[in-house]
Amino acid sequence: MRQGEIASKGKWTGNPTGGVKAPEPILLPDPSRRFADTAARLETLASGHPMEEWLRFMSRLSEAQHAAARDLPLPPATDPIDVKLAIDARMPPLAADGHRRPPEWRDILVHILDEDGLTGATAALSDAAARLKSLDADGVELLANRFLHGEVASEDAAAVLFLAAALQVYFTRMAANLKSPDLRLLTQRGLCPCCGSTPVAGTITASGDNPGTRYLHCSLCSTAWNHVRTVCITCGESRSVSLEGIEGDAGVVRAETCKDCSTYAKMIYLAKDTKADPFADDLASLGLDFLVAEVGWSRHAPNPLLLSASAG
C-alpha cells in the first residue's frame, strides 16, 4: 500500500501468528515404526563400522522387538482413573518403578528369544537365552524388577539385555495407548513424562512446524518430550554448557557437557543427517563416549541396551 492510500475495509484473512506456534510438548511413540526404524538405521550404520558385528546383532534385536510389537495382542490398558490421578499429581502415569505389569508382557520376552538366528551370534548370548528360558515366572519378574528399579549383577548383564528389549516393547506399546493431550511434562524436565525414565539421547529437529526444537527420547517407553536447548538436561543449569564433537566428523552426534554437574548427554542434529535415529545413533557413536569419558565427563545415564558400571 502506498502512503496516503486508503486502507482496505475487507476482513483480514491471514494467519494471526504467521504460522509461528509452540512445539508439541510430548510426542507419543508409534510402536509400528519405532523398532523397525532403529533396526534399519543400525543396519545402515553397521557397514564399515569398527563395531559392525555388534551393531548388526543390535539391528536384529530391534527387528525381533518390531516383530513382537507387530504380532502380539495389545497388553491391557492402564486404568484411566489411575492415569488421571498420576498426571494430576505431576507423576508419570506408567512409572517404571511403580507400574504393575500384567503377566502378558512376558510373552514379548518369549517372542524375542524365539526369533530365528538372534541368540546364536555368540556363546554368551545363547547361554543367556537358555538361562532366561529356564527361569520360571517369578525368576523373570525378579530380574525385571531389579533392572527397572535397582541394580543388576554384572553376571546377569547378558540376560538383562533381552529383558530390557522386551520391557522396551511393552512400555512403548503402553505409552502409545495413552492420550497425549492429557499428559503433562514432569517438573523434572530431564525425565520421561510417561514412565519417569532417563532419556537415551536428544534430537534437534530439522523439519516440521518447529525446526530446531529439542526432543529427548525415553530409554524405556520411547516417548519424546520437548526440552529447552542449551540447558543441561541433568541439573538444569545453562551457564557452562558446551558441545563436544569429534574433530572433522559430520557433526551429527555431539556431547552436550555441563561443568556444573560434570555430566554429558548426546544430542543428535537431524539437520546434519535427516535419517538419524536416537536409539541407533547413540549405540553407533560409542567412540564419542570414549573420548569424552577420557577427558573426565560422566554420561547422564546408560542406554538400557548398553549397561555399564556406574561412575562411582
Binding site: A123, A124, A157, V228, T230, E247, R299, S308
Partner: protein
C-alpha cells in the same frame, strides 16, 4: 560389580569388559572402536542465548561459537539462528535477523567512537573520554541556552525541548528504567524508544 539403568556412568574402552557389550561376547568390537577413535580429538562449540539487536520485537537468537568459553581460548562466532524455545519468534527470524552473522563480522562495524569536527570532511577515531566529554559539553550548552523553567502562566514546567533521545530496542527493563530516569531528570521531553524499525 553392579550395573544400573540409572545413574552416571563412564564409558571407557577399559571398562567395557564389565558392560553389556563385554558380557555378550562383543568385547573385541568395543576394543576396535576404542582403537579407531584414539587418533581423534574433541572440538568444543558453545550455543549461547541472546536477543536480536535490531528491533523491539526482541527475537531470541542462539549464537554458536567455537571453543568452550575457557579463559585462555579466543571464541569465534560461526553461526547465528533463531531460538526455537523463545516464545516471541519460536526459531524464526526476519531477513535482517537472519543476516546477523554478517553484522558481527562486518569490516565496517563501528568498534570505537568516531568524530567529524565542524567543517572537516572525514571522521577520525577518538577516545571514549573525548566522545563522552564532547557530548556532555554540547548537551550542557544547549540545555543552558534553551531550558524552559516556567510557562506563560508562570507555572513551573522544567522543559528541555531542543534535544531529544532515541533509546535502544533490545534494552532490558532495568536499562529502560535507567534510560528514562536520565532523560526525564534532565527535563528532556522529546524521548522515544526504538519500538519500530
Amino acid at each position: 560389580m553392579q550395573l544400573s539403568r540409572r545413574g552416571f556412568i563412564k564409558l571407557t574402552g577399559a571398562g567395557l569388559a564389565a558392560s553389556s557389550l563385554g558380557a555378550l561376547g562383543f568385547g573385541p568390537a568395543g576394543e576396535a572402536m576404542a582403537a579407531a577413535v584414539r587418533p581423534f580429538k574433541l572440538v568444543a562449540a558453545t550455543e549461547t542465548r541472546n536477543t536480536c539487536t535490531y528491533c523491539s520485537v526482541a527475537c531470541g537468537i542462539l549464537i554458536y561459537s567455537m571453543g568452550d568459553r575457557a579463559k585462555n581460548a579466543r571464541s569465534n562466532i560461526i553461526h547465528i539462528e533463531g531460538d526455537p524455545d523463545h516464545p516471541v519468534n519460536r526459531g524464526t527470524l526476519c531477513p535482517k535477523g537472519a543476516g546477523l552473522l554478517d553484522v558481527v563480522h562486518a569490516p565496517t562495524r563501528l568498534k570505537t567512537p568516531r568524530y567529524r569536527a565542524p567543517g572537516a570532511s572525514e571522521f577520525k577515531e577518538v577516545s571514549w573520554e573525548f566522545a563522552l566529554g564532547r557530548i556532555a559539553r554540547l548537551m550542557k550548552d544547549d540545555r543552558d541556552k534553551n531550558f524552559i523553567d516556567k510557562n506563560k502562566a508562570g507555572t513551573t514546567v522544567n522543559r528541555w525541548t531542543t534535544t531529544g533521545m532515541l533509546a535502544a530496542s533490545a534494552s532490558s527493563s532495568e536499562t529502560a528504567y535507567l534510560t528514562w530516569k536520565v532523560a526525564r531528570s534532565l527535563g528532556m521531553v522529546v524521548f522515544d524508544n526504538q519500538a519500530r524499525v
